[in-house]
């Protein structure tokens, strides 16, 4: 069957700026209630981290989400990944969704590499039989070799990153949401990530990823979504989108 893999309409996320600050402790809140007279900052100030974002993504498509820091890219991904609920709008995702907002989520320093494969694999949504079936490939891909049974706290940061990425690279799902993963690691690591994204798309998977790396966007995506101050300012062909991003960033 074909049809949109992701259909987002009117997605928005509203944050109360002061609420985040003032609700840290109950006593501060009580203090504010007890204190007579005008309250210094008044009502909470609200901030739309994301406002009225709509788009459709077909199966097998790779969409690049670009924008300056604070433009709402991560908020969009967090909403699509169900980590946080939207304030307005809705999105439908059809297919098994894998979200990689970082590599190595949940890695525990005291556990060995092999144990962390099991832990991280389960966290990012792999079934136990999938993890078992791919364990040898993951270890091979990571290149940590005989250190696989050593606690990862003794790993170099490069080894840690390679193992974490190796697990993520073996996650198979129909829709992948990938945030800024390309920004970490060395050139070889970034190249691996790009090839992985291409392979997923060629296999009929849908990928939505955020990046500041325009050469990666150009190579991997046919279409881009440009965000600025939480709003979608452009959605379409990647060449024009990149030009729009450069204009905003410049």
């Amino acid at each position: 069957m074909s049809g949109p893999a992701i259909r987002a309409s009117g997605l928005g996320k509203l944050y109360a700026v002061n609420e985040l600050r003032y609700r840290r402790t109950l006593s501060e809140r009580l203090w504010r209630m007890l204190r007579p007279g005008p309250v210094d900052s008044g009502l909470p100030e609200y901030l739309w981290a994301l406002k009225d974002v709509s788009f459709e993504l077909q199966q097998g498509e790779v969409l690049g989400v670009v924008g300056r820091n604070g433009s709402g890219k991560s908020t969009l991904l967090k909403i699509l990944a169900r980590i946080t609920t939207p304030s307005t709008g809705q999105a439908e995702l059809s297919g098994r969704v894998g979200a990689l907002l970082e590599v190595g989520t949940g890695f525990h320093p005291d556990l060995s590499g092999r144990e962390n494969i099991l832990l991280n694999g389960a966290i990012i949504g792999m079934r136990p039989e999938e993890i078992r079936a791919r364990e040898a490939d993951i270890i091979e891909f990571s290149g940590v070799g005989r250190f696989i049974d050593t606690p990862v706290k003794h790993y170099s940061s490069g080894m840690f990153m390679r193992l974490a990425f190796a697990v993520a690279a073996h996650l198979l799902c129909e829709i992948m949401l990938v945030d800024e993963v390309l920004a970490v690691g060395d050139a070889g690591f970034q190249e691996k990530c790009k090839r992985k994204i291409q392979a997923i798309a060629q296999g009929g998977g849908t990928v939505l990823f955020t990046s500041h790396d325009m050469s990666a966007i150009e190579r991997l995506c046919r279409r881009v979504l440009v965000l600025s101050e939480g709003r979608a300012v452009y959605f379409g062909e990647s060449a024009d989108g990149i030009a729009e991003y450069r204009r905003l960033a410049g």
């Binding site: 169900r82 980590i83 946080t84 995702l93 907002l101 005291d110």
Partner: protein, 273 residues
């Protein structure tokens, strides 16, 4: 082919059992991680699970048994008496503190990946059941040593622990959700646990209280859970049916209201934690 819709919420049910079933593998891995990490890099490892109640039993026996001459149910030896209480209490204290702290303690997961957040609480409670089983083995050793026979109350032990677990889950759903925006809960938690122990008949017998206050006392379901353990392993009287009814009602209200409160707020945990 699976999929889902995200929307501003929140007309969802109190609990989505089908979804929890889909996440059972993650639940199992979280329990395994908790146990594995807890005893990693310790010299005696799992030995701590038995050593903790053993040391506590020793301390309580010296203070309350030898110095204060605390009466016990049916005049049973104080070590057997107090361990049958600690059996339940250690489970309650540990699972309550860990389940309540579990959302804040796993902020790195909550902000990066989706799963039903209640899974963290359930995993914390399940991991405490492992410790309970070890303490139960110690209980059996004590009973053999002091020649105390179990009673028909052993049949009530499993339902009693279920009552305790439901109570803990209800409390942890409320406090765990409040902990996310209000770190005050972290400071409150040790006091609350300590007070909870004093209002449960852990180191003193239920009979120490004037009987007219029994039903009031049963507002704390752990009272009934501890008494059921006493009945099973240390020759105590079974808890009265009025007490059981009140405790069960309190536990169910705590659980349902806790589920409601937690579900109402879990969508924003990632924003506030």
């Amino acid at each position: 082919m699976s999929g889902f819709v995200v929307r501003p919420s929140s007309e969802h049910a109190l609990i989505d059992l089908a979804e929890l079933a889909r996440f059972r593998h993650l639940f199992a891995v979280l329990v395994w991680r908790t146990l594995k990490v807890r005893y990693q890099q310790t010299v005696i490892g799992v030995g701590w699970v038995v050593l903790q109640p053993l040391l506590l039993t020793f301390v309580f026996t010296v203070i309350f048994g030898l110095l204060i001459h605390m009466p016990t149910d049916g005049g049973r030896p104080y070590p057997v008496f107090v361990l049958s209480g600690l059996l339940v209490w250690q489970f309650v204290a540990q699972s309550f503190q860990q389940a309540t702290s579990s959302v804040v303690g796993n902020a790195h997961l909550v902000t990066k990946i989706y799963f039903p957040r209640i899974l963290l609480l359930l995993a914390a409670i399940a991991a405490s059941f492992f410790d309970l089983l070890c303490t139960l083995a110690l209980m059996i050793v004590f009973m053999l040593w002091y020649g105390v026979a179990p009673t028909a109350g052993v049949l009530a032990f499993v339902p009693a622990m279920l009552l305790a677990a439901v109570t803990v889950l209800g409390m942890a759903l409320w406090l765990g959700a409040l902990y996310v925006p209000y770190r005050d809960v972290g400071h409150l938690l040790p006091f609350l646990t300590q007070i909870w122990m004093f209002v449960s008949p852990v180191f003193y017998p239920l009979g120490l209280l004037p009987p007219k206050y029994e039903l009031l006392y049963a507002l704390n379901p752990i009272v009934v859970a501890v008494q059921a353990s006493r009945w099973a392993f240390a020759g105590g009287e079974p808890p009265g049916s009025g007490m059981v009814a009140i405790s069960s009602a309190v536990a169910i209200v705590l659980l349902l209201s806790g589920l409601w409160f937690f579900r109402r707020h879990e969508g924003r945990f990632a924003d506030l934690v």
